[in-house]
Every structure is written in structure tokens, then in C-alpha cells.
């Protein structure tokens, strides 16, 4: 009881404080410390990057599908990268592939996805005024912005951007002689990525601190929405794996610029030996994939978390296996760190070690299957509302399953030796990681657009966008499996000069390219919808999806500090949908059990006595004042 009185005293004390001064334009919209503004900055940057990244893929898809095509019409954009005979320059093809990978993996699906939704949803869903450190959060965005500027600028220097693949394996990436982009292009790539890592660490440290320290009264870990669990585990993965990439790139920088030999040994160029002796290029692969594999889950987990939330809301059913979902995400996060060598089966690894990594890799199928089944069982006999966000979430489940199945094939070292570095691998990871995460991102935008901008996205355009994209992506990546099984290697400029690829699958490659152009075009429906709805969309209501989580208890356009009054307390888990006996088919987290006697289960009636205790708890309000 004493705490309750203390609490009232605090509230009274709080009311005496004055409100914040309104801030200047620069501090409100540009160098903002508000998590919602930073989230929007990440979203807009992510969208711009995805347009650039996907455009690059369309250009190299045109080259692969139509090797004889006259590319002269691209000269105004690409300049001398289209050579005299109106063909794409082969070195620029490699640069395109590299930049497409780098941009999509890091700048779109890491920064654009986690950056947007972790920033936006963590404080809103756990009931906090803002991130633990608004300043570090702002710094995180501006480090990302600087990294973006440098990466973007590297595409416009005369020798072109880095061309050694997004995995930047040495010696290709370590030697300026290896490719035109191996000089300043590669240097800019490394500088940009170093800044990017700093940005991700600052962001991730903030996410973890906020989730652990700033939850509102009653929001125990067992009442956290699955979105927050996913963002939390993603941030932990990033915190542990990104420093390792920093180490790897530091050593690479020393090899490139200071003449050390960490990764280089006994290399001859034009018959002349380089001075570097004693390095090991495999060492880089170990370090790179220790980040590289968790990175796959850094990209995927946030998408899975948002999908859980969207599927439960729109099936009007509690998520099936809430604790199993958390456990499987933890399992995936843990296993992510001990499977990296499955990217290296063909590096001459000891076959016994290979079989251990194969075993660990295949175990990931277990938690992944648990998640897939839980999505399906949540949908089962639900009262499904097919909103665009819901469709994209179901699309994610589809890609997660069809892409995950080929993961079982590639995880087998014996099969991987045949399929390594073919289009089968490309098809696999584009479905399970690329398309699935992109669908998570799009589902998130459709679902939380009303909270972000106070307006609704147009539903009809959303349906058109979904079906065109969903069909388009399968048309691109399904045939690609066949091309891969036939032995077509990835990162080849053209297949016209080799006997084993000369006469087959040219039509299939053209088909894939046409499907890629089709899918890319379909994205402009979304772009139009996004911009149009930003200004002219239907005004949103406070809780348009009748959802349970705390963000829908804020005003339609939440101000700085999110809740105008006291932060709501939390009494129940976030998935009380269609509870038998309840008046509505949803009961938000901040509704106490004492107000819903008609739907309480026996053990929940016991919880009523604990409500006073929850209310008496520390407000945990970092601003110490209402806004």
C-alpha cells in the first residue's frame, strides 16, 4: 500500500512540471531524437534504397535473359558502362551484382526493416515514452545516412563500385588489380560498411536496453507481443555478430592499405609474385560467415515477428503456441551462431567437420517448422480478414516454407557440393530470406501505416500490389531452381560461351528476366499508393484493425512522448482475440480482468487481486512528466 501512496505523490509531483518547449524544424524533422521520426527516416531511406537495389537487379537480369540485347538506351544513365557495341560492360555486371546484394541485405532488409519497425514499435508496444537514449538513436540513423551516402557515391566514381560480390572474399577484394572496382570502389565499400556496423550497434544497444528497462507496469516478458520478442532477439544477434564483421573488415583494410598478409599468400599477378606471404583467405570466410549467417536471421526474424502479430490480429484468434514461438525464435537465434561453415562446404573443409555443421544446420528446420505450423494453426478456422497486410503475411509464410524446403537440400554437404554457387542457391535464399523478409516489411507498412501517418493505405491498390508481387516472385524464383540444378553458376556475365550452358535454358532465363521486370513494375503500384495515401489517404481511426497491443491506445497521431497522460498499465497478454463470453472479439492489453468478468477463465479471476499491485508499481516513465 505504501508504494501506492508514493506513486500518487509522484503523479502529483509530475503534474507540476512544465511542458517541453516546441522544438525547431531542424530538431523536429531532421536531427530528431523522437523514435517515431527516426523510424520514418529509416523507412523513407529504406524505400529509396530498395528502388535502387531492385533496379540494379533488373539491369543484370536483362543482360542474363537477353545477352544479345541492345542496351544503348541505358547509356544516359550508365554512361560508359555500356560499351561501344551497346553491351553491358562485364566488369560493371559484377559491380551490379555486388551492389544489389549489399544494398538489399544491409541497407534495405537490415536498416530499412529493423531500423523502421524496431524504432517505431518497441516504445509504442512496450509502453515507453521513447528509446532509452534518443541521442544514440539519432546518431544511429545519421551513421547509417553517412554510410548510405558513401555507398551511393561509390557507384559514381570512374572505376565503378566494388565488384567482388557482397561477401567480399579476398583475394578478389584485397587486391586493387583484381577488378576495376577493387581500388577506390572497394575502399568506399569498406568505409561505408564500417560506418554501417557502428550504426547498427548503436541502434541494437538501444533496442535491447529499451526492451529490458523501459517496459510499462505489468508488461512482463511473458506478456510481450511477439514483435518485440523478435526485435529483441534480432538486436541481440546484431550485437554479437556485427563486431565480428568489423574485425574481419579491419583486417581486410590493413591488408589492402598497409600491406599486411592476414588473408593473402603467394599470389602471382602477370607472372610476378606479390610480397604477401603467410595469409589465409579461408580465415576471412570464417569471420565473414560468423556474421553472415546470423545476418540472415537479423533480416528474417523481425519479419516473422510482425507476421505473428498481423496473422493473430486478422485471424481474430490468439496466436497458436505463444511460448513455442518465443522458444523457436530463441532456438533459431542460438543455432544461427553455430552453423556458419555450411557456407564453406567447398573450401576444402574436413568432411567430418562438414558433417557436424550439416547436422547443426538441419536442426534449424525444427524451430522453423514449429513457426510455420504455428502460423498455419493460427489461421486454421480463424475468422480471417484479408487485409493487404494479412495477405502479405500469408505470402511470407508461403515463401518461408517453399524457400525453407530447399534449405534442407542445401544444408546437406553432399548435395551442396553439386549445387554450391549455382542459381539453386540464389533461388533458395531469395525466397526464404529476400522475398519473405520483403513481404514482412511490406506487411508491416500496410499494417502500421495508419499509426505512422494517421491515414490508411488504399486497400484495392494493396490487393493488386500483393497479387502481382506474389505471383511475380514465384515466376522469377521457381524456374531459377531448374536453372541451378542444370549447373548454371551464379555471378557469370553470360552463358553463351560455355558448352554446358550454350544451348539450354536460354528461354527459361528470358522468362525469369521478363518476370523480374514485371515484378519490379508492380512495385510502382505500392509507391503510388504510399505517396498518394500519405497526403490523400482515408483518415485512420484510433484502432483500425481492432488490435490488442498498446500502440493503438495512443492518439491517432501520437505526439512526442506517445501518451498524452499516464502510460497505460498492462494486465493481460496481447492475444485475447475472440475470447468466449467477451463483448467484443478483442480485449486490449490495458483492460484489467476486473472489467471483463464475463470472459475470465478461473485462474484469471485470481489475477484480479494482483491488479492493485501492478497499478502501484513504479510508473517507469523516463520523461517524468505527461505530454
Amino acid at each position: 500500500m505504501a508504494t501506492a501512496i508514493d506513486n500518487q505523490a509522484t503523479v502529483a509531483h509530475v503534474a507540476e512540471h512544465e511542458h517541453h518547449e516546441p522544438q525547431s524544424f531542424l530538431r523536429t524533422y531532421i536531427f530528431s531524437e523522437d523514435h517515431k521520426t527516426i523510424a520514418k527516416q529509416y523507412l523513407i531511406s529504406g524505400i529509396i534504397w530498395s528502388v535502387i537495389g531492385i533496379s540494379l537487379s533488373v539491369i543484370f537480369r536483362l543482360q542474363l535473359g537477353f545477352p544479345d540485347m541492345n542496351m544503348g538506351f541505358l547509356r544516359p544513365v550508365l554512361g560508359n558502362w555500356i560499351n561501344e557495341s551497346n553491351k553491358l560492360d562485364p566488369n560493371f555486371y559484377l559491380a551490379l551484382v555486388t551492389m544489389h546484394g549489399t544494398i538489399m541485405v544491409f541497407f534495405v532488409l537490415t536498416a530499412g526493416l529493423s531500423g523502421t519497425f524496431s524504432n517505431f514499435l518497441i516504445p509504442l508496444q512496450i509502453g515507453a515514452r521513447d528509446m532509452a537514449s534518443g541521442f544514440l538513436n539519432m546518431l544511429s540513423y545519421w551513421f547509417f545516412f553517412l554510410a548510405s551516402v558513401i555507398m551511393f557515391a561509390s557507384m559514381f566514381i570512374e572505376t565503378g563500385p566494388a565488384g567482388g560480390g557482397w561477401v567480399v572474399y579476398p583475394p578478389l577484394s584485397a587486391l586493387p588489380q583484381a577488378s576495376p572496382g577493387g581500388g577506390s570502389g572497394m575502399t568506399m565499400w569498406l568505409v561505408s560498411m564500417a560506418l554501417f556496423i557502428v550504426s547498427q550497434l548503436l541502434g541494437g544497444i538501444n533496442y535491447i536496453t529499451t526492451v529490458i528497462n523501459l517496459r510499462t507496469r505489468g508488461m512482463s516478458f511473458s506478456k510481450l507481443p511477439l514483435t518485440i520478442w523478435a526485435f529483441f532477439l534480432t538486436a541481440v544477434l546484431g550485437l554479437i555478430s556485427f563486431p565480428v564483421l568489423l574485425s574481419a573488415s579491419l583486417l581486410l583494410i590493413f591488408d589492402r592499405s598497409f600491406g599486411t598478409s592476414f588473408y593473402l599468400s603467394e599470389i602471382y599477378i602477370n607472372g610476378e609474385a606479390l610480397p604477401n606471404v603467410g595469409g589465409s583467405p579461408i580465415l576471412f570466410q570464417h569471420l565473414f560467415w560468423f556474421l553472415g549467417h546470423p545476418e540472415v536471421y537479423i533480416v528474417l526474424l523481425p519479419a516473422l515477428g510482425m507476421t505473428s502479430e498481423i496473422i493473430a490480429t486478422n485471424s481474430r484468434k490468439p496466436i497458436f503456441g505463444y511460448r513455442a514461438m518465443i522458444a523457436s525464435m530463441m532456438g533459431i537465434a542460438f543455432l544461427a551462431f553455430i552453423v556458419w561453415a555450411h557456407h564453406m562446404f567447398v573450401t576444402g573443409m574436413n568432411p567430418f567437420l562438414g558433417s557436424i555443421f550439416m547436422f547443426l544446420t538441419l536442426i534449424i528446420a525444427v524451430p522453423s517448422a514449429v513457426k510455420a505450423f504455428n502460423y498455419i494453426t493460427t489461421l486454421w478456422r480463424g475468422n480471417i480478414r484479408f487485409t493487404p497486410a494479412m495477405l502479405f503475411s500469408i505470402g511470407l509464410v508461403s515463401f518461408f516454407i517453399s524457400g525453407g524446403l530447399t534449405g534442407l537440400i542445401l544444408g546437406n554437404s553432399a548435395l551442396d557440393i553439386q549445387l554450391h554457387d549455382t542459381y539453386f542457391v540464389v533461388a533458395h535464399f531469395h525466397l526464404v530470406m529476400g522475398a519473405a523478409s520483403a513481404f514482412g516489411l511490406l506487411a508491416g507498412v500496410y499494417h502500421w501505416f495508419p499509426k505512422m501517418f494517421g491515414r490508411m493505405l488504399n486497400e484495392k491498390l494493396g490487393y493488386i500490389h500483393f497479387w502481382l508481387t506474389f505471383i511475380g516472385i514465384y515466376l522469377v524464383f521457381f524456374p531459377m531452381h531448374y536453372v541451378g540444378i542444370a549447373g548454371f553458376p551464379r555471378r557469370y556475365y553470360a552463358f553463351t560461351s560455355y558448352d554446358f550452358t550454350k544451348n539450354i535454358f536460354a528461354d527459361m532465363n528470358s522468362f525469369i528476366s521478363l518476370a523480374a521486370v514485371f515484378t519490379f513494375t508492380a512495385q510502382w503500384v505500392f509507391m503510388y499508393n504510399f505517396v498518394y495515401s500519405l497526403f490523400k489517404g482515408k483518415k485512420a481511426t484510433q484502432n483500425p484493425w481492432k488490435s490488442n497491443t498498446l500502440e493503438w491506445t495512443t492518439p491517432i497521431e501520437p505526439g512526442h512522448g506517445n501518451w498524452p497522460g499516464e502510460i497505460p498499465a498492462v494486465y493481460r497478454w496481447p492475444y485475447d482475440y475472440s475470447k468466449p463470453g467477451a463483448k467484443d472479439d478483442f480485449i486490449p492489453q490495458n483492460v484489467p480482468y476486473s472489467q471483463t468478468p464475463e470472459s475470465n477463465l478461473p485462474h484469471e479471476n485470481e489475477l484480479i487481486s494482483l491488479e492493485k499491485e501492478i497499478e502501484a508499481q513504479n510508473l517507469n516513465d523516463q520523461f517524468k512528466q505527461p505530454h
Binding site: 532509452a132 537514449s133 544514440l136 550497434l201 541494437g204 544497444i205 538501444n206 535491447i208 536496453t209 529499451t210 529490458i212 528497462n213 523501459l214 517496459r215 510499462t216 507496469r217 505489468g218 508488461m219 512482463s220 511473458s222 550485437l239 554479437i240 555478430s241 556485427f242 563486431p243 565480428v244 568489423l246 574485425s247 574481419a248 579491419l250 583486417l251 590493413f254 598497409f258 600491406g259 599486411t260 598478409s261 592476414f262 606471404v277 603467410g278 595469409g279 589465409s280 580465415l283 570464417h286 569471420l287 560468423f290 485462474h603 485470481e606 489475477l607 487481486s609 494482483l610 499491485e613 501492478i614 508499481q617 513504479n618 517507469n620 523516463q622
Partner: protein, 196 residues
Amino acid sequence: MSELVNDISLIEEPEQTLSMNPKKFILWLFIVSIIMLFAAMTSAYLVRRAEGNWLEYTIPAVFSYSSVVLVVSSLTMHWAYIAAKKDNFRSLKIAITITFALGMAFLYMQFQGWVQLVNQNVFFVGNPAGSFMYIFTGLHGFHLISGLIVLVFALVAAFRFSIHAKSLNQIEIAAAYWHFLDILWLYLFFFLVYFH
């Protein structure tokens, strides 16, 4: 009533949200990322060493002396913390200053270590055995400089009397980071001696 509640195992007691000072928590997460950075470096060292063609050389003795200096600086850092707790401002300022001076001395000795390595014909460019030595000491030195900057801020705060028994956050953060840098160096030093 409360007995009844305790009897039902389904019910979880409402717990206060952990409210550690967010800045301290951020420091610990920052330390985790530094640990991972060096874990990667030392594993790279082991992987590379296992492949053979490894240059053997004696580690300059000055690195042992510098380790002692850093351990002593940790003790003086703790003295500063105790002084702050007791509102003993004179000792606080002296202790932070000594810690800072010992930190500078450590950096100087590390540099002397590099000079001796060069005299032994172990260079940064060459066999990775030597390069790793420079990377470990250099990266640690870089982090130690950041520790010194934190110390300067603590010293300024001490002169402004903003560190005292009721406001210990800043000195606690500075001390935790400094002790961590100390332990990190001891780990690297013993690692280098053992896996030589």
C-alpha cells in the same frame, strides 16, 4: 487472500520492470560488442596459427611491466570510487589523476613494446604472427584512449563537485569501463603468452 494466490502456480506475481540506469546498461552492452570484436580477433589468431608457417619471436618484457601498471591503475580507479562514495573530494581528484597518469604510462610502455618488436625484426607488415601482435596491442590501445577520454570527463565532473555519494553514476560507469579495459588487456596478454 494472499495465501490463496500463492497456492495457484499458474499465477505469476507481478514484477517490477528492471530499472537499471539505462546508461549503465548501455555501457554493458557496449562492452559485449567489444568482447565480440576481440573474440573474433583471437579466434582468427588461433585459426591462422593452426595452419603453420608461424613466426616465432620473444614477446618484449615491457609488455609484462605495462600489465602491472594497468593493474595498479585499476586499483587507483577503485580508490577513486571509494573516495566518491565517502564524499572525499580531495582523494577523488588525486585518484582519478593518478589513474589517468598510469593509463598514459601504459600507452607509452605499449609504444616502447612496438619499438622493441621492430628492433627484433618483427614488423607489422610480414608474417601474420607479428601483425596480430600489433593489431591486438593497437586495438586495445585505441580502446584505452577512449577510456582515458571517459576519465577526463569524470575528472572535470569531480572538479565541478558533480560526483558525490548521491550521484555515483558517472564514476561507476568510468570505473566499470576502466576495469573492463584492464581485464581485456590481461586476457590478451595471457592469450599471447600462452598461444605463442
